[in-house]
Amino acid sequence: MTFDPGVALTRRQLFGSSATGLGIVALSDLLAEDLRPAPANTGLDGVPHFAPRAKRVIYLFQSGGPSQMDLFDAKPGLRELQGSELPDSVRGGQRLTGMTAAQSSFPVAPSKFEFARAGESGQEFGELIPHIASISDKIAVIRSMTTEQINHDPAITYLQTGHQLAGRPSLGSWLSYGLGSESSSLPSYVVMVSLGSTGQPLYSRLWGSGFLPTRYQAVKFRAGREPVLYLNDPDGFSRTDRRTYLDGLAALNRAHLEEFGDPEIENRIAQYEMAFRMQASVPELTDLSSEPDSVFEMYGEDARKPGTYASNCLLARRLVERGVRCVQLFHRGWDHHNNLPSNLAQRCAETDRASAALVKDLERRGLLEETLVVWGGEFGRTVYCQGELTRQNYGRDHHPRCFSIWLAGGGIRGGTTHGATDDFSYNVAADPVSVPDLHATILHLMGVDHKRLTFKYQGRHFRLTDVHGALVRPILA
């Protein structure tokens, strides 16, 4: 969260101003005139390093590991191999999770879903995601993502922070730190988690600021009465009450400032004003009643229910409209060790329409050009079956060696399929993309050279991509 008030006080303002007589000045008016920050935190000097392709990013995180070969990575040839043993040469002695390492056989489970080509680009999509297929020409699919981590916690931590163990800043925190905020009434980094989704847990470190100052961490928006923790005034306490309260408080703080001269007091006054503005801007933001019915037709009726993925997608659009730098959605429940077909269908029903609607909606409003949208999970799933295998039902274990994600919007060449996997969607066959490569590319699109966005901590110049990261140029427009 970036809320540097950016209140540039002159020395005269700090020390020379006379007392404001008795007490209660309407500080908001004062701020409106000469102290209110235009955009708040302006980020680091010299960042962006070059002209950005996107000013904002929306990352739709599908937590649990969506199955690439049931959605994006068509392998029709596997149908004939149904139930046959995965050749050792393919598996190549790879590390397995403790859940299937003891399994005596590794039978091939082809996808039960049909794939079809879509758009002029002719990219292939599984039948569960027809809406994403409908934006085929706007999105670049990377089929050759790979990660080093095979279990949820380290894998999702790696994708979010560039390191599998706790302690590093998240992608959104790096962006806040480097690029600053464009809004004076909203945080620069917002996270939303689909309400009621279950599955693998999430952790606040995934959007935390690690060793960066805590103001760069995300503010988590929540469905319901209080979208931001402690946003609402107590029952019975009106906006006018809060206004006079803040004026009184500021008058007291200002009286002390005159005596003590610590600029941090001025900063405190500004932060309370920012809080007051958020108390207005956040409810306005999360109130969807002004959205026309046509919007709900796009995103689906679910978008009327606060906390759903669809509703969060719509909020994501409203957030970037208002200048929020980084928005991240988390949808849990993609961890399909068993009963994959029915569970996957369920997750797709919850997310497919709204994910595509978001891209279309941004485009319609002319925002897509400067907004990067990313869709993906923390790893893929195995071609071999976990548990009982039938034509209609199967499960898949975690698979770090390859998985699929897609990107759209600012700087992305739509309709591109990048990379390829082998016949079993088991190993990357061409153009592997590592997690640092993805991070480097996202930063690049935001105008940031991933090698030059650093923070010195414990004597080291840390960066999101550590010592790795190469741009995925073929997907760039």
């Binding site: 809320f3 020395r11 008795l22 007490g23 209660i24 590390r95 999770t97 403790g98 859940m99 390492a101 095979i150 279990n151 949820h152 916690d153 163990l165 706790a166 693998q200 847990p201 999430l202 952790y203 606040s204 470190r205 935390g208 100052p213 103001r215 503010v219 319901g224 931001v228 923790l229 402690y230 946003l231 029952d235 019975g236 306490f237 009450d241 809060r242 006079t244 309260y245 009184g248 408080l249 009286a255 002390h256 005596e259 003590f260 610590d262 941090e264 405190r268 006054i269 932060q271 309370y272 920012m274 809080a275 958020m278 108390q279 068993n338 274990d397 010195k456 414990q458 004597g459 080291r460």
Partner: protein, 1025 residues
């Protein structure tokens, strides 16, 4: 950046304290940082990435020839020195560092510093922090108000050299509030303020500091930061992040600070208390320090991988806390900046790699090695119980002796079925069924693989309930169920089964792999009667599962140990039902029992005795086995002995059961131990657990002193080494951290990094003097805190003048006291104290104060956060339950460390989230209400007095005229507001569970509560100035 006092700093005359000659560039504080930061990546300690033979981290390297044959440095001649020529080159192809690799060129100021250094003779020195601590002569400071102790001499000399003068002393009330908050984390009470202001003694302040240091609150305050350094938390930190119990360690820390345990002993006990001769329970609890790291229980993790992570975490935490070194860099390659090779990293790691813990931690509770750690009160109770039990045992023994010859078979004739009654939930012996085969006694149940017995809704246990299942078994087949409450499709429930010839005890959940199972290592004999028992103690891990054949414990293998969710199964208790849908028991079963207790080994042995008490009584005494004798004795004492003996026996049994229940509730704590067969340590290629290279033995860093004479080469030796008087780092790093606690920033601002990339000390001689004083004074923490808190430096006013703001915005020279926002814990504790709500008990299990609903549920599969009630809502914040992956939001908002890894650096941000928190968190609104009640009840007869009293509670001073009028105006505004809308007044007062004083008028209280909230939100209130 406050890191460097460079040429720019010289311009304002800051160099005096750093260097004896103000004109000279100081190599250690000015030159090495440039070389380190800009050159060492390729020309430093890391042999793996050294781009040429050139090294700039050693004297030999710097004074050697460059690869082109020219000297790197010619002292006195910068223009003949290759180093200068290359960094200053215009040609980008020649310029260092090379732009082609993305490195930015040196700034003009950096080049000038290097040039000046060479011109002045290129003096070389080892990195300052590795040099021995030499006690500098204390500078003299003018006596009187300034110059209270030697600290002031060092500080004054330094600021005078920069042309600054100290600030006046702080007002007495401010000083008292400052010291009270700094040393106890709580504000002074109104009475403390008044009595301090009224104390005419010239030593009144010193007396107040002594009082604060003696307060039990001091240990709690000192623990704030130590818990963060030790990454202490109440959960495991991965995935669903379930609870563990380390609070006994936390309380050890508080007690140690309160008892003023010398810091060297504090160190030895925490790092190696288990290796002390004959360690006490406290010594063992202390070692929890290095078990506070996160523990992974995720299904499918590779235990070997996390074993490495735990040892690395212990190493990194220990190195950060005691050495102030970022050793972690050397895990994958030689350290880039400091003289630590990768090999040395693994030598050091070896000290922490010999704990008997496993790579996969339990999802719940404490993972061995653990100790049962009763509190002193509990130990007292236990001693009392043990005394009573011993007494009863003597009495019972007396009866047995007297009645030794009196046991006759006839007396026990009716006791054929005698069994332990305590906790017996179910027993079936099948004797009534006429057509059944002969059993161990009477009839038995023959099961043919098709039928089973359905006993209905009995023994409805969940995974935290202990139980015992026992039966006589004569199996005909390798697989089948003995007794269970179990849904094989799922699977879910618990039971004792025969699977592939071996006996399995299961407590399963219907999920991927959430289950606990142990299996006998050896098969159960087929075709003959065997007594089989499975015991589960409700600990939710397989460490609490045991199997017995014929009354003797048998070795088991853990098949899976992943307990997460409730195991309650919607199934009846069944006998003979299978572990799978078709695997029903084939063979004969007799005397099947289920106990809702975990039977002790001697009890199982008795249950497994086939003979009846009467039969045993009829045997020759010499022929009776120990279990048979025991069974006879128990049956006799229970059934046939004279009433006085039976009565004593009943009391003894009751006392034993009570003790069993008491023991089950005692806290445990995870501790360190040493494996008997040391785990070999290898250098790990790129730090990866599955790429071991050469084997190494425990060892230290060659750049630092070696082990003290006679110290063993293990963790104990390591602890002795750290605390030896000649260690250059421990004392410096430690006093610097305590200094940070009182001044907001360290003398070395990078409190976590004293290495070559760390900040230079702002007052190097003061740092060394304090370190020497600390060591020579016996590592006396309270004495150190007293020394600092009674210095004139500490007692200055924290007012910021325009001149000071311009000359020294970061207050590096301490010409004023710092103004610091309070730590997260103190902000909440202070509000509770002002409100009169604070519950002041010391230590105990962690508590759950208010937290917004749904936070836990949104992110994980662990149920909802349910806040406590009563006193437990108002405990000090360091007792708040800390879930690592989702810490208490109000603590995190005020920069508390997340506790996932070691953090020693204090951080203070200023955000709108903090404002929202203080204005709207029910914690603060409840506190405001109670605070308002105090103003009304205790403040005096009129508004002016009441408001002044309220102001005093928050700030330890009275309001100035303008402040008083702002408060009065606000009060009257809200009084009018709530008088016209009493319903709103009622709602505004509704936060929190503490009862409202019914004697107070609602609109009046609401108006005061609103002003109270303003006072709790005042910048001055949440700041120690």
């Amino acid at each position: 950046m406050r890191r460097l006092l460079t040429r720019a700093a010289l311009a304002v005359g800051l160099c005096a304290a750093l260097s004896p000659d103000c004109l000279a560039v100081d190599f250690r504080s000015e030159v090495r940082p440039i070389l380190s930061d800009r050159c060492y990546t390729c020309h430093g300690p890391d042999s793996g990435t050294r781009m040429s033979p050139l090294r700039l981290d050693t004297r030999e390297g710097v004074f050697a020839e460059a690869s082109n044959g020219r000297p790197v440095i010619v002292p006195g001649q910068p223009d003949s020195s290759e180093l200068i020529l290359r960094v200053a080159a215009d040609d980008p192809a020649r310029r260092m560092p090379p732009g082609a690799f993305g490195h930015a060129p040196l700034s003009q100021a950096e080049i000038e510093t290097l040039r000046a250094w060479v011109r002045e003779g290129a003096q070389w020195a080892r990195h300052w922090a590795f040099e021995p601590i030499k006690r500098p002569a204390a500078s003299s400071a003018p006596a009187g108000e300034w110059g209270r102790n030697p600290i002031d001499g060092f500080v004054l000399a330094r600021m005078r050299a920069a042309g600054l003068e100290p600030s006046p002393m702080a007002e007495r009330s401010k000083l008292l509030r400052r010291a009270t908050l700094d040393l106890t984390g709580l504000p002074p009470t109104a009475a403390e303020v008044r009595s301090f202001l009224a104390d005419p003694s010239p030593k009144a302040y010193e007396a107040a500091v002594d009082r604060l240091l003696a307060s039990a609150r001091f240990g709690e305050r000192m623990a704030f930061r130590w818990l963060e350094a030790a990454r202490y938390a109440d959960t495991n930190g991965y995935q669903n992040d379930r609870e563990r119990d380390m609070w006994r360690w936390r309380d050890w820390v508080i007690d140690a600070f309160n008892a003023n345990m010398p810091f060297d002993r504090f160190t030895v006990e925490q790092l190696a208390g288990d290796l002390l001769p004959d360690p006490s329970l406290e010594d063992l609890i202390a070692t929890g320090f290095n078990r506070n790291h996160r523990g992974n229980a995720e299904n499918g993790t590779d235990p070997d991988e996390y074993q490495v992570e735990y040892a690395v975490d212990r190493l990194e935490t220990t190195a950060t806390v005691w050495l102030g070194l970022t050793v972690g860099c050397a895990r994958c390659h030689d350290h880039k900046y400091d003289p630590i090779s990768q090999r040395e990293f693994y030598q050091f790691y070896a000290y922490f790699n010999n704990v008997s813990d496993r790579g996969r931690y339990y999802k719940y509770g404490n993972t061995p090695p653990i100790v049962r750690a009763p509190t002193p009160t509990q130990r007292e109770s236990l001693r009392a119980m043990d005394g009573a039990i011993a007494d009863l045992e003597r009495r019972v023994g007396g009866h047995a002796e007297a009645l030794r010859s009196g046991i006759r078979a006839a007396d026990l004739a009716g006791a054929d079925d005698w069994a332990f009654a305590e906790g017996l939930a179910v027993r079936r012996s099948f004797d009534a069924a006429g057509s059944e085969p002969a059993g161990v006694r009477g009839r038995a149940a023959r099961l043919d693989g098709r039928r089973h017995f359905d006993l209905g809704n009995l023994a409805d246990y969940d995974f935290y309930d202990p139980f015992t299942i026992s039966a006589w078994v004569r199996a005909d087949n390798q697989t089948g169920g003995i007794a269970s409450r179990y849904l094989p499709k799922g699977p879910k429930g618990f039971g004792l089964f025969l699977v592939g010839g071996k006996v399995q005890l299961r407590v399963d959940t219907a999920s991927i792999s959430d289950r606990q199972r142990v299996e006998s290592r050896n098969p159960l004999p087929i075709g003959r009667w065997v007594h089989v028992a499975g015991v589960y103690d409700g600990s939710r891990n397989t460490g609490g599962m045991r199997l017995y054949f014929d009354g003797r414990r048998v070795p088991t293998e853990t098949l899976i140990d992943e307990s997460l969710n409730s195991t309650k199964a919607n199934a009846p208790l069944r006998i003979g039902h299978g572990p799978g849908p078709d695997d029903r028991f084939q063979g004969v079963l007799d005397d099947v029992r289920v106990y809702s207790r975990a039977l002790a080994p001697d009890e199982i042995a008795v249950v497994a005795v086939r003979e009846t008490p009467a039969e045993i009584a009829a045997m020759r005494r010499a022929d009776r086995s120990a279990p048979q004798r025991d069974k006879l004795r128990r049956a006799y004492l229970e059934l046939a002995a004279p009433e006085s003996a039976r009565s004593d026996w009943r009391r003894l049994r009751a006392a034993l059961l009570e003790r069993e229940a008491f023991l089950a509730e005692l806290p445990t704590v995870m501790v360190m131990d040493e494996r008997e067969n040391p785990r070999p340590t290898h250098v790990l290629f790129r730090g990866s657990f599955d790429a071991p290279r050469e084997r190494v033995e425990p060892g230290l860093f060659s750049a630092l002193p070696s082990l003290p004479a006679g110290a063993p080469n293990n963790r104990m030796g390591l602890a002795r080494w750290l605390t030896s008087d000649s260690h250059p780092l421990t004392a410096r790093v430690t006093v610097n951290r305590f200094w940070q606690m009182l001044f907001g920033q360290g003398i070395v601002s990078t409190v976590e990094d004293f290495g070559s990339q760390g900040a230079a000390p702002t007052h190097p001689r003061l740092l060394d003097w304090l370190a020497a004083e600390f060591i020579e004074g016996g590592w006396d923490v309270k004495a150190l805190m007293r020394l600092i808190a009674t210095s004139a430096t500490y007692r200055q006013s924290s007012a910021v003048t325009p001149e000071l703001l311009e000359r020294d915005p970061q207050n590096l020279l301490l010409a004023r006291a710092p103004r610091l926002r309070l730590p997260a814990e103190a902000i909440r504790d202070q509000a509770l104290a002002i409100a009169g709500l604070l519950s002041e008990g010391l230590g105990g299990p962690s508590v759950k104060p208010y937290q917004p609903g749904g936070l836990w549920k949104e992110l994980s599969n662990w149920g909802a956060y349910k806040h406590d009630s009563g006193d437990r809502l108002y405990r000090r914040s360091l007792y708040t339950f800390w879930k690592r992956t989702l810490g208490p939001p109000a603590m995190l908002a005020f920069d508390a460390a997340p506790r996932e890894t070691c953090v020693v650096r204090e951080d203070r941000t200023n955000t709108p989230i903090q404002a929202l928190n203080l204005m709207n968190d029910p914690t603060y609104n409840e506190a405001a209400r109670l605070y308002a009640e105090r103003m009304l009840r205790e403040g005096g007869a009129d508004d002016a007095r009441r408001l002044a009293y309220g102001f005093l509670l928050a700030t330890a001073r009275g309001p100035a005229g303008r402040e008083a009028s702002i408060l009065r105006e606000s009060l009257s505004r809200y009084r009018d507001r709530f008088l016209t809308a009493p319903a709103d007044a009622d709602r505004v007062l509704s936060a929190g569970e503490a009862p409202r004083d019914p004697g107070l008028d609602t609109p009046e209280l609401a108006a005061y509560a609103t002003v109270a909230s303003m006072l709790l939100n005042l910048d001055e209130t949440i700041t120690r100035e």
